[in-house]
């Protein structure tokens, strides 16, 4: 772990400005991912800006009947919130399918969105990794790729985004609210649809989101409840405490229409609205569109039928 300096920010705008001032800085909230990566020399910030004291830890109702979730709301609290459980159950279910109780107690909403891939080559600093060391190559291509992306990857990177929460956020059409660094008087804010928040790797897999240097997430908002039945089906090699091979977040309406997003298959939560037009016709046509252009490896091609079967099971369950 590289030595680093540390400060506590006083306000979101100040945090953003401080971060922009120091190119090697990182925000730290729960630290459940960042600290591990620092210990392994994967993240090597010169400076940490602690945002835990910024008061962004409330869940409020919005005027249009949705919820505004503070960036620092812990995963445990978000999953347990009565409004989330009642109106946005897919989010609660996705959160509870992730990590462990201890980690969820610590991990924050914004941190969850920003967590890094679990690709084993990203985790081994002796190995080439374009995400960790741009231009060094991708060891996962031609290597152990069972967990990795089948769609949305590139010649430079086939890492997946590991979050469960983000998959539910995507199916709920969440919006990420941020504050940008400015000198005076206060930081400008912006709203980023979750669909646009994570980037595909292309030639620059080290750039994972559209956040600008120093830009700080302050909240994630959910629109008014989507109705329907909410499902989160996470498929993995052990019953708990494992990342998804494939996960399916779905909202199914009584008429059979609905929405679906996948986790574990792509560098970002994977949803295509055009595929959802097929929902009432079943899992096969949905997946044909949703996973169109998939380029799996020999080791992870099973994710294609697995995703289809998992969605089929969800649709069967929704029918009751």
């Amino acid at each position: 772990m590289k030595p680093f300096t540390y400060e506590r920010a006083a306000s979101p705008a100040e945090a953003a400005t401080a971060a922009a001032r120091q190119p090697g800085a990182r925000f730290i909230a729960g630290g459940t991912n960042l600290l591990d990566l620092m210990k392994l020399q994967i993240e090597t910030p010169d400076h940490l800006i602690d945002v835990n004291g910024l008061g962004l830890d409330r869940i409020e109702e919005t005027q249009d009947g949705g919820l505004r979730i503070g960036a620092l709301v812990r995963n445990t609290d978000l999953a347990a919130d009565a409004r989330v459980r009642r109106d946005h159950a897919v989010l609660s279910r996705a959160l509870l399918a992730g990590a462990s109780g201890q980690l969820r107690n610590r991990a924050t909403t914004a941190g969850n969105l920003l967590q890094r891939t679990r690709c084993p080559y990203f985790y081994d600093t002796n190995m080439a990794c374009n995400k960790r060391r741009p231009g060094s190559g991708c060891s996962a291509l031609g290597g152990y790729s069972r967990q990795l992306a089948v769609v949305g990857g590139s010649e430079a990177c086939i890492a997946t985004h590991p979050s469960d929460m983000a998959v539910a956020m995507r199916v709920l059409d969440a919006t990420v609210e941020t504050v940008k660094p400015t000198v005076k008087p206060e930081g400008a804010t912006r709203k980023i649809p979750i669909a646009d928040f994570h980037r595909l790797p292309g030639d620059t897999p080290e750039i994972e989101t559209v956040l600008e240097p120093g830009e700080l997430i302050t909240a994630v908002t959910l629109p008014k409840p989507a109705g329907g039945t909410h499902h989160y089906r996470k498929v993995r090699d052990r019953a708990s405490y494992a990342f998804a091979l494939v996960s399916v977040a779905a909202i199914v309406q009584p008429d059979g229409s609905g929405r679906v997003a996948l986790g574990g298959v792509a560098p970002k939560p994977w949803r295509r609205e055009d595929a959802e037009a097929e929902m009432s016709r079943g899992a096969k046509p949905v997946m044909a569109k949703l996973l169109a252009g998939a380029r799996p490896t020999e080791e992870n091609k099973f994710k294609l039928p697995l995703a289809e079967r998992a969605l089929a099971a969800v649709l069967a369950e929704a029918k009751g």
Partner: protein
Amino acid sequence: MKFDTPATTNPIDRLKIVGLPTDRIDGPLKTTGTAPYAYERHDVAPDAAYGHVLGAAIAKGRIASMDLTAAWAAPGVLAVVTAENAGKLGKGEYNTAKLLGGPEIEHYHQAVALVVAETFEQARHAAELIKVDYAPARGAYDLAASRDSAKPAGKDEEPADSRVGDFDAAFAAAPVQLDATYTTPDQSHAMMEPHASIAAWNGDRLSLWTSNQMIAWSVGDVAKTLGIAKEKVHLMSPYIGGGFGGKLWVRADALLAALGARAAKRPVKVALQRPLMINNTTHRPATIQRIRLGADKDGRLTAIGHDSWSGDLPGGKPETAIMQTRLLYAGANRLTRQRLAELDLPEGNSMRAPGEAAGMMALEIAMDEMAEKLGLDPVEFRIRNDTQVDPEQPERKFSQRQLTECLRTGAERFGWARRKAEPRQVRDGRWLVGLGMAAAYRGSPVIKSGARVRLDGKGTVTVETDMTDIGTGSYTIIAQTAAEMMGVPLDKVVVRLGDSAFPVSSGSGGQFGGNSSTAGVYAACVKLREAVTAKLGLNAADAQFADGQVRSGDRSIALAEAARSGELAAEDAIEFGGLDKKHQLSTFGGHFVEVAVDAATAEVRIRRMLAVCASGRILNPKSARSQVIGAMTMGAGAALMEDLVVDKRHGFFVNHDLASYEVPVHADIPHQEVIFLDETDPMSSPMKAKGVGELGICGVAAAVANAIYNATGVRVRDYPITLDKLLEKMPDVG
């Protein structure tokens, strides 16, 4: 004490304390966080500096150059140890690769440097500043590709090949045949406590607080590696946070702590960081196993063939996956062959039930497949081929063998009769449900084991032996043994373990520790009883030790009296004199498993597990049960998820942390039940006990595999049985 005639009635047979399900006496220390583990010995080395290990970035080749400048210049650095500056080092008897590599690199993450600094963070940071230029060389990393180059590998008592009768002819002539190949992957011990040590030099004497299963072996190997006399090494390992065979040997933490302490001139502590556990230390090697079975139409085996291939570094040893096949089932014509390929992966070595754990994973699927071909129930098929004699040497009997009883008891208790012989017949909502079983077999070796027992004026009995407790319950069964022998309650016994100043014991491994070490304590107690009766002027022949009293004739004297004028001490060792050669000492069992397989996703969930064990006298049913359910859990991991994935380009295990090397979590482990059959084995030791901690894993994975087959109709012969291997053949969804 020489043990060369079968045990007769002795004080242990009273079973006033031995045989009770006593709570472990070290439990409160562990549950309150006060048991002093190696890395936490602030009491003995308050000024210890911190060492951090740098592992090699290549699997094979040489270090072309190493630049330590930046590391030396980093804050807090006290020493940087490399092969170049460490002085001449030997290699331990039990190590295959060197513990400190360079310039030659033998495997990935082989230690190439230790940085010692004032704080852990400083040491870690400085280690990252070391610049190493490697000249990589080509290596062999693929067992399947190296299979044809494999050579016979055996030793005197376990030759590579065994032949009885004419296997080829009998197999060819058998009306029912099976010829199938199975694979088991490399596996990691993945114990909770990493390898960790604190070293301190006092002149030329080394004190090493470490986490190690075999004190005497390791004293020898530390001395040999450092080139100093054994007498100069004091090794202590009283508490161990799991070992499973991974701590049978001295590893880099111990050696580098010693070298670092010498260089820094103060005590140094080193824990191997978690990623190094996988590629720096040892693992259970992968196997390829071909099994051929021939039977007559009545289901009697006429031909049994088992070939196994595994790989290891040059000079390493095979995974002895064929050994149980020499002993488990009857059959006149037999052939077993063990081959070893040279691979440049990290060192393969013992992991819980080496040999049988991997061998039974294959053999017991083969038996299930054969039973199906014969149209026989798998329980009945095994019983039909049971034997009371060593099938390769029929003049040798098993000392005890209750395989049939285990299987019948298990079948009845598990509700085996409800199993549908035809697969894929039982559906429970979204789940396909199946039952599977396997025999359990594991040898029960015995090893010379010594102890010292002291009696003080308060009547307290103190046992000292270099035996270790790796979480198994050694403290408790040794206390029970001493209490039974000396006729005192458990709270009058103090047990001190894991110190090379104490008499040499069997150590912990190969499921030999429980029986051997308590037998050593028995021997020492026999001597102490003689000393007590002599001191008290009582007739040794009829003296009874009970309730803190020694009774002889009409006299009864408090035990403590014997030590009133000074402590009494006795030391002895149990030495096994050949009964274990004349007879085959083995443990037997049956594993029964119910699984449910998600019809849509093919996720496998175990619902119930039962083990029935016949393994001699159970010294403590509570700790023995804990051993067996732990082993069943490990077997479930082997069946469903554990897999060190080889990167065949770079030559290392890719999933080198506990996030990616998955072992079962609580949610994976359902109801577990263990039944111990009543058994005492007079051939095993005066304790009449045998091992049980490894029996518990042998056969579990195959029982799971067989249950999955019964549930789904899909036969998977390559472990672990992950959902991708089942998915294609699962029923349509919806």
